[in-house]
Protein backbone atom coordinates (compact mmCIF):
# COMPACT_ATOMS: atom_id res chain seq x y z
CA UNK A 1 0.00 0.00 0.00
CA UNK A 2 3.03 2.28 -0.34
CA UNK A 3 1.54 2.64 -3.83
CA UNK A 4 -0.96 4.88 -2.09
CA UNK A 5 1.63 7.65 -1.91
CA UNK A 6 2.78 7.55 -5.54
CA UNK A 7 0.08 10.07 -6.41
CA UNK A 8 1.54 12.46 -3.80
CA UNK A 9 5.13 12.90 -4.99
CA UNK A 10 6.18 15.43 -2.35
CA UNK A 11 4.89 13.26 0.49
CA UNK A 12 6.45 10.16 -1.11
CA UNK A 13 9.84 11.93 -1.18
CA UNK A 14 9.55 12.91 2.48
CA UNK A 15 8.50 9.37 3.41
CA UNK A 16 11.76 8.18 1.86
CA UNK A 17 13.59 10.43 4.30
CA UNK A 18 11.53 8.88 7.12
CA UNK A 19 12.61 5.40 5.98
CA UNK A 20 16.29 6.45 5.86
CA UNK A 21 16.12 7.96 9.33
CA UNK A 22 14.52 4.78 10.72
CA UNK A 23 17.39 2.70 9.33
CA UNK A 24 19.90 5.12 10.81
CA UNK A 25 18.30 5.12 14.26
CA UNK A 26 17.90 1.35 14.44
CA UNK A 27 21.55 0.46 14.76
CA UNK A 28 23.75 -1.63 17.03
CA UNK A 29 27.43 -2.63 17.26
CA UNK A 30 26.33 -6.22 17.68
CA UNK A 31 25.87 -8.08 14.37
CA UNK A 32 23.08 -10.35 15.59
CA UNK A 33 21.13 -7.39 16.94
CA UNK A 34 21.76 -5.37 13.77
CA UNK A 35 20.05 -8.08 11.70
CA UNK A 36 17.01 -7.88 14.00
CA UNK A 37 16.93 -4.07 13.85
CA UNK A 38 17.18 -4.09 10.05
CA UNK A 39 14.11 -6.29 9.97
CA UNK A 40 12.29 -3.95 12.37
CA UNK A 41 13.09 -1.00 10.08
CA UNK A 42 11.90 -2.91 7.02
CA UNK A 43 8.54 -3.97 8.48
CA UNK A 44 6.91 -1.00 6.81
CA UNK A 45 3.32 -1.06 5.79
CA UNK A 46 1.19 1.78 4.63
CA UNK A 47 3.12 4.62 6.24
CA UNK A 48 -0.30 6.19 6.85
CA UNK A 49 0.54 7.90 10.13
CA UNK A 50 3.70 9.74 8.99
CA UNK A 51 2.00 10.41 5.62
CA UNK A 52 -1.02 12.05 7.26
CA UNK A 53 1.29 14.01 9.54
CA UNK A 54 3.21 15.36 6.51
CA UNK A 55 0.00 16.24 4.64
CA UNK A 56 -1.28 18.22 7.62
CA UNK A 57 2.13 19.87 7.99
CA UNK A 58 1.89 21.10 4.37
CA UNK A 59 -1.33 22.96 5.25
CA UNK A 60 0.74 25.34 7.38
CA UNK A 61 3.26 25.94 4.55
CA UNK A 62 6.32 25.43 6.78
CA UNK A 63 9.63 26.88 5.59
CA UNK A 64 12.49 24.62 4.52
CA UNK A 65 14.37 25.05 7.79
CA UNK A 66 11.64 22.98 9.42
CA UNK A 67 12.12 19.97 7.14
CA UNK A 68 14.51 18.01 9.37
CA UNK A 69 12.36 18.49 12.45
CA UNK A 70 9.22 17.43 10.57
CA UNK A 71 10.99 14.31 9.27
CA UNK A 72 11.94 13.40 12.85
CA UNK A 73 8.40 13.83 14.15
CA UNK A 74 6.99 11.81 11.22
CA UNK A 75 9.52 9.09 12.06
CA UNK A 76 8.50 9.13 15.75
CA UNK A 77 4.94 8.31 14.71
CA UNK A 78 5.97 5.38 12.50
CA UNK A 79 8.34 4.04 15.17
CA UNK A 80 5.65 4.14 17.86
CA UNK A 81 3.33 2.34 15.43
CA UNK A 82 5.98 -0.32 14.67
CA UNK A 83 6.66 -0.85 18.38
CA UNK A 84 2.99 -1.55 19.03
CA UNK A 85 2.80 -3.87 16.00
CA UNK A 86 5.79 -5.90 17.18
CA UNK A 87 4.16 -6.35 20.59
CA UNK A 88 0.71 -7.03 19.03
CA UNK A 89 2.20 -9.83 16.93
CA UNK A 90 3.55 -11.49 20.09
CA UNK A 91 0.08 -11.46 21.59
CA UNK A 92 -1.68 -12.62 18.43
CA UNK A 93 1.08 -15.16 17.67
CA UNK A 94 0.94 -13.81 14.10
CA UNK A 95 3.22 -15.39 11.50
CA UNK A 96 2.72 -12.68 8.84
CA UNK A 97 2.11 -8.94 8.60
CA UNK A 98 1.85 -7.16 5.22
CA UNK A 99 3.04 -10.41 3.63
CA UNK A 100 6.31 -10.36 5.61
CA UNK A 101 7.30 -12.76 8.40
CA UNK A 102 6.84 -11.06 11.80
CA UNK A 103 9.66 -10.33 14.27
CA UNK A 104 8.15 -12.75 16.80
CA UNK A 105 7.93 -15.57 14.24
CA UNK A 106 11.49 -15.02 12.97
CA UNK A 107 13.34 -14.27 16.25
CA UNK A 108 11.04 -15.62 18.95
CA UNK A 109 8.75 -13.89 21.39
CA UNK A 110 11.54 -13.09 23.84
CA UNK A 111 13.59 -11.04 21.37
CA UNK A 112 10.42 -9.38 20.06
CA UNK A 113 9.58 -8.08 23.56
CA UNK A 114 12.90 -6.25 23.85
CA UNK A 115 12.88 -5.15 20.19
CA UNK A 116 9.51 -3.45 20.76
CA UNK A 117 10.83 -1.87 23.98
CA UNK A 118 13.85 -0.54 22.12
CA UNK A 119 11.55 1.06 19.54
CA UNK A 120 9.60 2.75 22.36
CA UNK A 121 12.93 4.16 23.58
CA UNK A 122 13.83 5.52 20.14
CA UNK A 123 10.36 7.04 19.86
CA UNK A 124 10.98 8.73 23.21
CA UNK A 125 14.41 9.98 22.04
CA UNK A 126 12.93 11.56 18.92
CA UNK A 127 10.31 13.36 21.01
CA UNK A 128 12.93 14.71 23.39
CA UNK A 129 14.99 16.00 20.46
CA UNK A 130 12.06 17.78 18.83
CA UNK A 131 9.62 18.67 21.62
CA UNK A 132 11.52 19.13 24.89
CA UNK A 133 9.89 21.96 26.84
CA UNK A 134 6.61 21.86 24.84
CA UNK A 135 3.19 20.47 25.86
CA UNK A 136 3.53 17.87 23.10
CA UNK A 137 5.59 15.53 25.25
CA UNK A 138 2.59 15.10 27.51
CA UNK A 139 0.24 14.83 24.53
CA UNK A 140 2.42 11.98 23.24
CA UNK A 141 2.50 10.11 26.54
CA UNK A 142 -1.27 10.57 26.92
CA UNK A 143 -1.67 9.05 23.44
CA UNK A 144 0.52 6.09 24.34
CA UNK A 145 -1.53 5.52 27.51
CA UNK A 146 -4.81 5.79 25.55
CA UNK A 147 -3.48 3.29 23.01
CA UNK A 148 -2.47 0.74 25.65
CA UNK A 149 -5.70 1.09 27.59
CA UNK A 150 -7.51 0.40 24.29
CA UNK A 151 -5.48 -2.79 23.82
CA UNK A 152 -5.94 -3.90 27.45
CA UNK A 153 -9.68 -3.17 27.37
CA UNK A 154 -10.03 -5.14 24.13
CA UNK A 155 -8.23 -8.03 25.83
CA UNK A 156 -10.52 -7.82 28.87
CA UNK A 157 -13.57 -7.95 26.54
CA UNK A 158 -12.54 -11.16 24.78
CA UNK A 159 -15.26 -13.76 24.20
CA UNK A 160 -17.98 -11.24 25.10
CA UNK A 161 -20.35 -11.24 22.15
CA UNK A 162 -22.90 -9.25 24.15
CA UNK A 163 -20.67 -6.24 24.64
CA UNK A 164 -22.27 -2.99 23.46
CA UNK A 165 -21.10 -1.34 20.22
CA UNK A 166 -19.99 1.63 22.34
CA UNK A 167 -17.41 -0.62 24.00
CA UNK A 168 -15.97 -1.63 20.61
CA UNK A 169 -15.85 2.01 19.53
CA UNK A 170 -14.14 3.13 22.75
CA UNK A 171 -11.50 0.42 22.30
CA UNK A 172 -10.68 1.28 18.68
CA UNK A 173 -10.57 4.98 19.58
CA UNK A 174 -7.71 4.02 21.87
CA UNK A 175 -5.90 1.26 20.03
CA UNK A 176 -6.06 2.83 16.53
CA UNK A 177 -7.65 6.26 16.30
CA UNK A 178 -5.53 7.86 19.06
CA UNK A 179 -2.39 7.60 16.92
CA UNK A 180 -4.14 8.96 13.79
CA UNK A 181 -5.43 11.79 15.94
CA UNK A 182 -1.92 12.53 17.19
CA UNK A 183 -0.44 12.41 13.67
CA UNK A 184 -2.92 14.96 12.32
CA UNK A 185 -2.76 17.35 15.27
CA UNK A 186 1.05 17.28 15.37
CA UNK A 187 1.10 17.90 11.61
CA UNK A 188 -1.06 20.99 12.00
CA UNK A 189 0.83 22.28 15.04
CA UNK A 190 4.41 21.73 13.90
CA UNK A 191 3.70 22.68 10.26
CA UNK A 192 2.48 26.11 11.32
CA UNK A 193 -1.33 25.76 11.32
CA UNK A 194 -1.11 26.16 15.07
CA UNK A 195 -4.18 28.18 16.07
CA UNK A 196 -5.91 26.10 18.79
CA UNK A 197 -9.10 25.85 16.69
CA UNK A 198 -7.21 24.39 13.72
CA UNK A 199 -5.23 21.95 15.87
CA UNK A 200 -8.48 20.75 17.47
CA UNK A 201 -10.05 20.35 14.01
CA UNK A 202 -7.02 18.35 12.82
CA UNK A 203 -7.33 16.13 15.91
CA UNK A 204 -11.00 15.39 15.13
CA UNK A 205 -10.25 14.64 11.48
CA UNK A 206 -7.50 12.23 12.55
CA UNK A 207 -9.80 10.50 15.02
CA UNK A 208 -12.57 10.06 12.44
CA UNK A 209 -10.17 8.74 9.80
CA UNK A 210 -8.70 6.36 12.40
CA UNK A 211 -12.07 4.97 13.48
CA UNK A 212 -13.18 4.49 9.89
CA UNK A 213 -9.84 2.90 9.03
CA UNK A 214 -10.08 0.37 11.88
CA UNK A 215 -13.69 -0.54 11.09
CA UNK A 216 -12.58 -1.20 7.48
CA UNK A 217 -9.73 -3.33 8.75
CA UNK A 218 -12.20 -5.39 10.76
CA UNK A 219 -14.58 -5.66 7.79
CA UNK A 220 -11.79 -7.00 5.56
CA UNK A 221 -11.36 -9.86 8.02
CA UNK A 222 -14.86 -11.05 7.00
CA UNK A 223 -14.93 -10.01 3.35
CA UNK A 224 -11.40 -10.66 2.07
CA UNK A 225 -9.09 -13.67 1.69
CA UNK A 226 -5.67 -14.48 3.14
CA UNK A 227 -4.14 -14.09 -0.33
CA UNK A 228 -5.49 -10.56 -0.92
CA UNK A 229 -4.93 -9.41 2.65
CA UNK A 230 -1.43 -10.92 2.90
CA UNK A 231 -2.23 -12.05 6.45
CA UNK A 232 -4.44 -14.78 7.94
CA UNK A 233 -8.14 -13.82 8.03
CA UNK A 234 -10.67 -14.57 10.78
CA UNK A 235 -7.98 -15.08 13.41
CA UNK A 236 -9.78 -12.61 15.66
CA UNK A 237 -12.77 -14.93 16.14
CA UNK A 238 -10.61 -17.81 17.39
CA UNK A 239 -8.95 -15.43 19.83
CA UNK A 240 -12.25 -14.09 21.11
CA UNK A 241 -11.81 -10.63 19.62
CA UNK A 242 -15.32 -9.93 18.36
CA UNK A 243 -15.27 -6.88 16.10
CA UNK A 244 -17.99 -4.63 14.72
CA UNK A 245 -19.41 -6.85 11.89
CA UNK A 246 -19.90 -9.74 14.33
CA UNK A 247 -21.28 -7.56 17.14
CA UNK A 248 -23.83 -5.97 14.78
CA UNK A 249 -24.95 -9.28 13.26
CA UNK A 250 -25.09 -10.86 16.72
CA UNK A 251 -27.70 -8.32 17.84
CA UNK A 252 -30.02 -9.62 15.08
CA UNK A 253 -29.90 -13.33 15.99
CA UNK A 254 -28.00 -13.97 19.21
CA UNK A 255 -29.02 -17.62 19.62
CA UNK A 256 -27.53 -18.73 16.30
CA UNK A 257 -24.16 -17.22 17.21
CA UNK A 258 -24.17 -18.35 20.85
CA UNK A 259 -24.19 -22.01 19.81
CA UNK A 260 -20.94 -21.59 17.88
CA UNK A 261 -19.19 -19.01 20.08
CA UNK A 262 -19.78 -21.06 23.23
CA UNK A 263 -16.81 -23.19 22.15
CA UNK A 264 -14.53 -20.20 22.71
CA UNK A 265 -10.91 -21.12 21.89
CA UNK A 266 -11.97 -24.65 20.89
CA UNK A 267 -13.94 -23.36 17.91
CA UNK A 268 -12.98 -25.24 14.71
CA UNK A 269 -12.02 -23.76 11.35
CA UNK A 270 -15.29 -24.85 9.76
CA UNK A 271 -17.27 -23.35 12.65
CA UNK A 272 -15.41 -20.07 12.16
CA UNK A 273 -16.50 -20.21 8.51
CA UNK A 274 -20.09 -20.65 9.70
CA UNK A 275 -19.72 -17.62 11.98
CA UNK A 276 -18.40 -15.63 9.02
CA UNK A 277 -21.39 -16.68 6.90
CA UNK A 278 -23.81 -15.68 9.66
CA UNK A 279 -22.09 -12.30 9.95
CA UNK A 280 -22.73 -11.65 6.26
CA UNK A 281 -26.23 -13.18 6.31
CA UNK A 282 -27.35 -10.85 9.11
CA UNK A 283 -25.85 -7.79 7.41
CA UNK A 284 -22.96 -7.34 9.84
CA UNK A 285 -20.58 -6.35 7.06
CA UNK A 286 -23.09 -4.06 5.36
CA UNK A 287 -24.02 -2.24 8.58
CA UNK A 288 -20.39 -1.91 9.61
CA UNK A 289 -19.60 -0.34 6.21
CA UNK A 290 -22.41 2.14 6.79
CA UNK A 291 -20.97 3.12 10.16
CA UNK A 292 -17.48 3.51 8.70
CA UNK A 293 -18.96 5.68 5.97
CA UNK A 294 -20.50 7.97 8.60
CA UNK A 295 -17.09 8.56 10.17
CA UNK A 296 -15.51 9.17 6.76
CA UNK A 297 -18.22 11.69 5.88
CA UNK A 298 -17.64 13.51 9.14
CA UNK A 299 -13.92 13.61 8.36
CA UNK A 300 -14.58 14.97 4.87
CA UNK A 301 -16.88 17.69 6.16
CA UNK A 302 -14.24 18.69 8.67
CA UNK A 303 -11.52 18.70 5.99
CA UNK A 304 -13.69 21.24 4.11
CA UNK A 305 -13.21 23.60 7.04
CA UNK A 306 -9.41 23.55 6.64
CA UNK A 307 -7.62 26.31 4.65
CA UNK A 308 -8.24 25.40 0.98
CA UNK A 309 -5.40 24.51 -1.36
CA UNK A 310 -3.46 21.58 -2.76
CA UNK A 311 -2.82 19.92 0.63
CA UNK A 312 -6.51 20.01 1.61
CA UNK A 313 -7.50 18.55 -1.78
CA UNK A 314 -4.97 15.76 -1.45
CA UNK A 315 -6.30 15.02 2.01
CA UNK A 316 -9.84 14.78 0.59
CA UNK A 317 -8.73 12.31 -2.07
CA UNK A 318 -6.75 10.20 0.36
CA UNK A 319 -9.60 9.95 2.85
CA UNK A 320 -12.00 8.79 0.12
CA UNK A 321 -9.46 6.24 -1.13
CA UNK A 322 -9.11 4.68 2.31
CA UNK A 323 -12.77 3.65 2.09
CA UNK A 324 -12.31 1.80 -1.18
CA UNK A 325 -9.33 -0.33 -0.29
CA UNK A 326 -9.49 -4.10 -0.58
CA UNK A 327 -6.16 -4.77 1.11
Amino acid sequence: MLDLWKHYPQIAKQLNDVRSLMHQLLSSNNQAIQALLNDCAQQQGKMLRPGLFLLFAQLGQPDKRQTEKLTKIATSLEILHQATLIHDDIIDDSPLRHGTITIQAKYGKDTAVYAGDLLFTIFFELLIETMNGTPYLKINSDTMRHLLHGELNQMAARFQQQQPISNYLANIKGKTAALFRLACMEGAYFGGLNQPKMVALAAQIGENIGISFQIYDDILDYSSSTVTLKKPVLEDVAQGVYTLPLLLAYQQHPAEFDQLLAKKRQISKSEIQLVSQLVKKYHGVKQAKQLALNYTHQAIQQINQLPSGKAAEELQQLTKKLLKRTF
Copy 2:
Protein backbone atom coordinates in the same frame (compact mmCIF):
# COMPACT_ATOMS: atom_id res chain seq x y z
CA MET B 1 14.45 -7.10 51.72
CA LEU B 2 12.29 -4.08 52.57
CA ASP B 3 13.75 -4.85 55.99
CA LEU B 4 16.86 -3.26 54.60
CA TRP B 5 15.32 0.19 55.00
CA LYS B 6 14.10 -0.21 58.58
CA HIS B 7 17.43 1.14 59.79
CA TYR B 8 16.90 4.28 57.69
CA PRO B 9 13.59 5.62 59.04
CA GLN B 10 13.48 8.78 56.93
CA ILE B 11 14.09 6.85 53.71
CA ALA B 12 11.58 4.18 54.79
CA LYS B 13 8.95 6.90 55.27
CA GLN B 14 9.63 8.38 51.83
CA LEU B 15 9.50 4.91 50.27
CA ASN B 16 6.00 4.57 51.67
CA ASP B 17 5.06 7.69 49.71
CA VAL B 18 6.60 6.08 46.61
CA ARG B 19 4.42 3.01 47.14
CA SER B 20 1.28 5.13 47.56
CA LEU B 21 2.03 7.08 44.41
CA MET B 22 2.57 3.87 42.45
CA HIS B 23 -0.87 2.60 43.52
CA GLN B 24 -2.41 5.92 42.56
CA LEU B 25 -0.80 6.00 39.11
CA LEU B 26 -1.61 2.41 38.27
CA SER B 27 -5.35 2.81 37.91
CA SER B 28 -8.04 1.96 35.36
CA ASN B 29 -11.83 2.24 35.07
CA ASN B 30 -11.92 -1.38 33.98
CA GLN B 31 -12.17 -3.83 36.91
CA ALA B 32 -10.21 -6.63 35.23
CA ILE B 33 -7.38 -4.25 34.37
CA GLN B 34 -7.44 -2.73 37.85
CA ALA B 35 -6.75 -6.16 39.37
CA LEU B 36 -3.75 -6.53 37.06
CA LEU B 37 -2.46 -3.04 37.87
CA ASN B 38 -2.81 -3.66 41.62
CA ASP B 39 -0.60 -6.71 41.20
CA CYS B 40 1.93 -4.67 39.21
CA ALA B 41 2.04 -2.07 42.00
CA GLN B 42 2.47 -4.77 44.64
CA GLN B 43 5.36 -6.58 42.92
CA GLN B 44 7.80 -4.65 45.04
CA GLY B 45 11.15 -6.02 45.90
CA LYS B 46 14.05 -4.28 47.51
CA MET B 47 13.16 -0.73 46.46
CA LEU B 48 16.91 -0.25 46.07
CA ARG B 49 16.79 2.18 43.16
CA PRO B 50 14.34 4.69 44.69
CA GLY B 51 16.06 4.19 48.09
CA LEU B 52 19.49 5.04 46.67
CA PHE B 53 18.00 8.01 44.85
CA LEU B 54 16.53 9.33 48.10
CA LEU B 55 19.79 8.80 50.02
CA PHE B 56 21.73 10.77 47.39
CA ALA B 57 19.05 13.45 47.41
CA GLN B 58 19.57 13.88 51.18
CA LEU B 59 23.23 14.74 50.56
CA GLY B 60 22.10 17.97 48.91
CA GLN B 61 19.83 18.87 51.88
CA PRO B 62 16.83 19.75 49.69
CA ASP B 63 14.13 21.96 51.21
CA LYS B 64 10.67 20.60 51.95
CA ARG B 65 9.11 22.16 48.86
CA GLN B 66 11.09 19.66 46.82
CA THR B 67 9.60 16.61 48.56
CA GLU B 68 6.78 15.95 46.08
CA LYS B 69 9.06 16.23 43.08
CA LEU B 70 11.63 13.91 44.66
CA THR B 71 8.92 11.34 45.44
CA LYS B 72 7.84 11.43 41.78
CA ILE B 73 11.36 10.92 40.48
CA ALA B 74 11.96 8.09 42.97
CA THR B 75 8.72 6.51 41.73
CA SER B 76 9.80 6.87 38.08
CA LEU B 77 12.89 4.77 38.87
CA GLU B 78 10.90 1.99 40.54
CA ILE B 79 8.31 1.97 37.75
CA LEU B 80 10.98 1.69 35.04
CA HIS B 81 12.51 -1.16 37.05
CA GLN B 82 9.13 -2.92 37.41
CA ALA B 83 8.43 -2.54 33.67
CA THR B 84 11.70 -4.25 32.81
CA LEU B 85 11.04 -7.02 35.38
CA ILE B 86 7.60 -7.73 33.94
CA HIS B 87 9.10 -8.08 30.46
CA ASP B 88 12.09 -10.09 31.77
CA ASP B 89 9.74 -12.58 33.40
CA ILE B 90 8.01 -13.15 30.03
CA ILE B 91 11.34 -13.96 28.46
CA ASP B 92 12.55 -16.16 31.32
CA ASP B 93 9.11 -17.77 31.69
CA SER B 94 9.55 -17.19 35.45
CA PRO B 95 6.81 -18.39 37.78
CA LEU B 96 8.08 -16.49 40.85
CA ARG B 97 9.86 -13.25 41.74
CA HIS B 98 10.58 -12.26 45.36
CA GLY B 99 8.36 -15.18 46.39
CA THR B 100 5.34 -13.75 44.54
CA ILE B 101 3.71 -15.18 41.42
CA THR B 102 4.79 -13.14 38.36
CA ILE B 103 2.43 -11.12 36.15
CA GLN B 104 3.14 -13.41 33.18
CA ALA B 105 2.39 -16.56 35.20
CA LYS B 106 -0.84 -15.13 36.64
CA TYR B 107 -2.26 -13.25 33.63
CA GLY B 108 -0.44 -14.78 30.64
CA LYS B 109 2.35 -13.46 28.48
CA ASP B 110 0.03 -11.39 26.30
CA THR B 111 -1.33 -9.27 29.14
CA ALA B 112 2.18 -8.98 30.62
CA VAL B 113 3.50 -7.43 27.39
CA TYR B 114 0.95 -4.60 27.52
CA ALA B 115 1.23 -4.23 31.32
CA GLY B 116 4.98 -3.62 30.94
CA ASP B 117 4.33 -1.17 28.11
CA LEU B 118 1.84 0.70 30.26
CA LEU B 119 4.46 1.00 33.01
CA PHE B 120 6.92 2.45 30.48
CA THR B 121 4.26 5.04 29.63
CA ILE B 122 3.73 5.99 33.27
CA PHE B 123 7.51 6.24 33.71
CA PHE B 124 7.56 8.60 30.72
CA GLU B 125 4.68 10.67 32.21
CA LEU B 126 6.50 11.11 35.51
CA LEU B 127 9.62 12.31 33.69
CA ILE B 128 7.64 14.83 31.64
CA GLU B 129 6.02 16.16 34.82
CA THR B 130 9.30 16.60 36.67
CA MET B 131 12.00 17.14 34.02
CA ASN B 132 10.43 18.76 30.93
CA GLY B 133 12.94 21.21 29.46
CA THR B 134 15.96 19.71 31.33
CA PRO B 135 18.77 17.50 29.96
CA TYR B 136 17.55 14.70 32.25
CA LEU B 137 14.90 13.57 29.78
CA LYS B 138 17.66 12.61 27.38
CA ILE B 139 19.72 11.07 30.19
CA ASN B 140 16.72 8.89 31.03
CA SER B 141 16.12 7.75 27.45
CA ASP B 142 19.85 7.04 27.06
CA THR B 143 19.64 4.89 30.20
CA MET B 144 16.64 2.99 28.85
CA ARG B 145 18.49 2.37 25.57
CA HIS B 146 21.62 1.21 27.46
CA LEU B 147 19.49 -1.13 29.56
CA LEU B 148 17.79 -2.71 26.55
CA HIS B 149 21.03 -3.09 24.60
CA GLY B 150 22.42 -4.88 27.66
CA GLU B 151 19.46 -7.29 27.63
CA LEU B 152 19.64 -7.83 23.85
CA ASN B 153 23.42 -8.36 23.95
CA GLN B 154 23.01 -10.88 26.77
CA MET B 155 20.43 -12.68 24.66
CA ALA B 156 22.76 -12.69 21.63
CA ALA B 157 25.54 -14.20 23.80
CA ARG B 158 23.47 -17.16 25.01
CA PHE B 159 25.20 -20.57 25.04
CA GLN B 160 28.62 -18.95 24.51
CA GLN B 161 30.76 -20.22 27.35
CA GLN B 162 33.89 -18.84 25.66
CA GLN B 163 32.76 -15.23 25.78
CA PRO B 164 35.28 -12.92 27.46
CA ILE B 165 34.61 -11.60 30.97
CA SER B 166 34.58 -8.09 29.45
CA ASN B 167 31.46 -9.07 27.49
CA TYR B 168 29.67 -10.14 30.68
CA LEU B 169 30.70 -6.91 32.40
CA ALA B 170 29.54 -4.75 29.47
CA ASN B 171 26.14 -6.49 29.52
CA ILE B 172 25.53 -6.07 33.25
CA LYS B 173 26.66 -2.44 33.03
CA GLY B 174 23.70 -2.02 30.68
CA LYS B 175 21.05 -4.32 32.06
CA THR B 176 21.59 -3.54 35.76
CA ALA B 177 24.19 -0.88 36.56
CA ALA B 178 22.78 1.77 34.18
CA LEU B 179 19.66 2.16 36.34
CA PHE B 180 21.66 2.31 39.61
CA ARG B 181 23.86 4.92 37.95
CA LEU B 182 20.81 6.95 36.96
CA ALA B 183 19.26 6.69 40.44
CA CYS B 184 22.39 8.02 42.15
CA MET B 185 23.10 10.83 39.68
CA GLU B 186 19.47 11.99 39.67
CA GLY B 187 19.50 11.92 43.47
CA ALA B 188 22.56 14.17 43.57
CA TYR B 189 21.27 16.52 40.86
CA PHE B 190 17.67 16.95 41.99
CA GLY B 191 18.53 16.96 45.70
CA GLY B 192 20.82 19.96 45.22
CA LEU B 193 24.31 18.41 45.07
CA ASN B 194 24.34 19.50 41.46
CA GLN B 195 27.92 20.59 40.74
CA PRO B 196 28.98 18.57 37.64
CA LYS B 197 31.86 16.96 39.57
CA MET B 198 29.53 15.68 42.30
CA VAL B 199 26.92 14.42 39.82
CA ALA B 200 29.67 12.53 37.93
CA LEU B 201 30.92 11.06 41.22
CA ALA B 202 27.38 9.96 42.14
CA ALA B 203 27.04 8.32 38.70
CA GLN B 204 30.26 6.34 39.23
CA ILE B 205 29.19 5.24 42.70
CA GLY B 206 25.86 4.06 41.30
CA GLU B 207 27.54 2.15 38.50
CA ASN B 208 29.96 0.40 40.88
CA ILE B 209 27.18 -0.53 43.32
CA GLY B 210 25.09 -1.80 40.38
CA ILE B 211 27.87 -3.99 38.97
CA SER B 212 28.68 -5.42 42.40
CA PHE B 213 24.97 -6.00 43.05
CA GLN B 214 24.46 -7.92 39.79
CA ILE B 215 27.57 -10.06 40.31
CA TYR B 216 26.20 -10.97 43.77
CA ASP B 217 22.86 -11.81 42.23
CA ASP B 218 24.58 -14.17 39.81
CA ILE B 219 26.68 -15.70 42.62
CA LEU B 220 23.53 -16.45 44.65
CA ASP B 221 22.27 -18.54 41.75
CA TYR B 222 25.17 -20.94 42.45
CA SER B 223 25.44 -20.65 46.22
CA SER B 224 21.85 -20.34 47.47
CA SER B 225 18.70 -22.47 47.36
CA THR B 226 15.23 -21.87 45.89
CA VAL B 227 13.82 -21.63 49.41
CA THR B 228 16.22 -18.89 50.58
CA LEU B 229 16.18 -16.99 47.30
CA LYS B 230 12.38 -17.25 46.88
CA LYS B 231 12.87 -17.93 43.15
CA PRO B 232 14.14 -20.91 41.15
CA VAL B 233 17.95 -21.20 41.13
CA LEU B 234 20.20 -22.22 38.23
CA GLU B 235 17.55 -21.36 35.62
CA ASP B 236 20.14 -19.25 33.79
CA VAL B 237 22.24 -22.29 32.84
CA ALA B 238 19.30 -24.05 31.16
CA GLN B 239 18.55 -20.88 29.22
CA GLY B 240 22.15 -20.45 28.10
CA VAL B 241 22.80 -17.35 30.18
CA TYR B 242 26.31 -18.04 31.46
CA THR B 243 27.18 -15.61 34.21
CA LEU B 244 30.43 -14.62 35.89
CA PRO B 245 30.97 -17.64 38.24
CA LEU B 246 30.57 -20.06 35.32
CA LEU B 247 32.68 -17.97 32.90
CA LEU B 248 35.53 -17.73 35.43
CA ALA B 249 35.47 -21.44 36.32
CA TYR B 250 35.21 -22.34 32.63
CA GLN B 251 38.52 -20.63 31.90
CA GLN B 252 40.21 -23.07 34.31
CA HIS B 253 38.96 -26.33 32.78
CA PRO B 254 37.03 -25.74 29.53
CA ALA B 255 36.83 -29.39 28.47
CA GLU B 256 34.97 -30.53 31.58
CA PHE B 257 32.30 -27.89 31.05
CA ASP B 258 32.05 -28.29 27.27
CA GLN B 259 30.86 -31.89 27.63
CA LEU B 260 27.87 -30.79 29.71
CA LEU B 261 27.10 -27.45 28.06
CA ALA B 262 27.10 -29.00 24.56
CA LYS B 263 23.57 -30.20 25.33
CA LYS B 264 22.39 -26.59 25.40
CA ARG B 265 18.63 -26.42 26.14
CA GLN B 266 18.48 -30.23 26.46
CA ILE B 267 20.68 -30.18 29.59
CA SER B 268 19.05 -32.20 32.41
CA LYS B 269 18.53 -31.10 36.00
CA SER B 270 21.22 -33.45 37.28
CA GLU B 271 23.66 -32.17 34.64
CA ILE B 272 22.95 -28.62 35.76
CA GLN B 273 23.82 -29.73 39.31
CA LEU B 274 27.11 -31.09 37.95
CA VAL B 275 27.82 -27.75 36.26
CA SER B 276 27.12 -26.01 39.55
CA GLN B 277 29.53 -28.31 41.38
CA LEU B 278 32.23 -27.67 38.76
CA VAL B 279 31.71 -23.91 39.12
CA LYS B 280 32.42 -24.18 42.84
CA LYS B 281 35.24 -26.72 42.42
CA TYR B 282 37.12 -24.42 40.06
CA HIS B 283 36.66 -21.39 42.30
CA GLY B 284 34.14 -19.61 40.07
CA VAL B 285 32.11 -18.41 43.06
CA LYS B 286 35.18 -17.38 45.05
CA GLN B 287 36.73 -15.42 42.19
CA ALA B 288 33.43 -13.76 41.33
CA LYS B 289 33.08 -12.64 44.97
CA GLN B 290 36.56 -11.14 44.77
CA LEU B 291 35.62 -9.18 41.65
CA ALA B 292 32.39 -7.94 43.27
CA LEU B 293 34.42 -6.88 46.30
CA ASN B 294 36.68 -4.77 44.06
CA TYR B 295 33.69 -2.85 42.73
CA THR B 296 32.28 -2.38 46.23
CA HIS B 297 35.63 -1.08 47.46
CA GLN B 298 35.76 1.39 44.61
CA ALA B 299 32.25 2.55 45.48
CA ILE B 300 33.21 2.98 49.14
CA GLN B 301 36.30 5.00 48.29
CA GLN B 302 34.19 7.22 46.06
CA ILE B 303 31.55 7.64 48.79
CA ASN B 304 34.35 8.98 51.01
CA GLN B 305 34.73 11.85 48.56
CA LEU B 306 31.11 12.94 49.04
CA PRO B 307 30.25 15.72 51.54
CA SER B 308 30.43 14.04 54.97
CA GLY B 309 27.38 13.72 57.21
CA LYS B 310 24.58 11.36 58.11
CA ALA B 311 23.54 10.61 54.51
CA ALA B 312 27.08 9.69 53.46
CA GLU B 313 27.45 7.42 56.50
CA GLU B 314 24.17 5.69 55.76
CA LEU B 315 25.30 5.18 52.19
CA GLN B 316 28.53 3.57 53.43
CA GLN B 317 26.61 1.17 55.66
CA LEU B 318 24.13 0.27 52.96
CA THR B 319 26.83 -0.44 50.39
CA LYS B 320 28.64 -2.76 52.78
CA LYS B 321 25.39 -4.52 53.65
CA LEU B 322 24.67 -5.28 50.00
CA LEU B 323 27.77 -7.47 49.93
CA LYS B 324 26.64 -9.62 52.83
CA ARG B 325 23.15 -10.46 51.67
CA THR B 326 22.08 -14.07 51.25
CA PHE B 327 18.76 -13.31 49.56
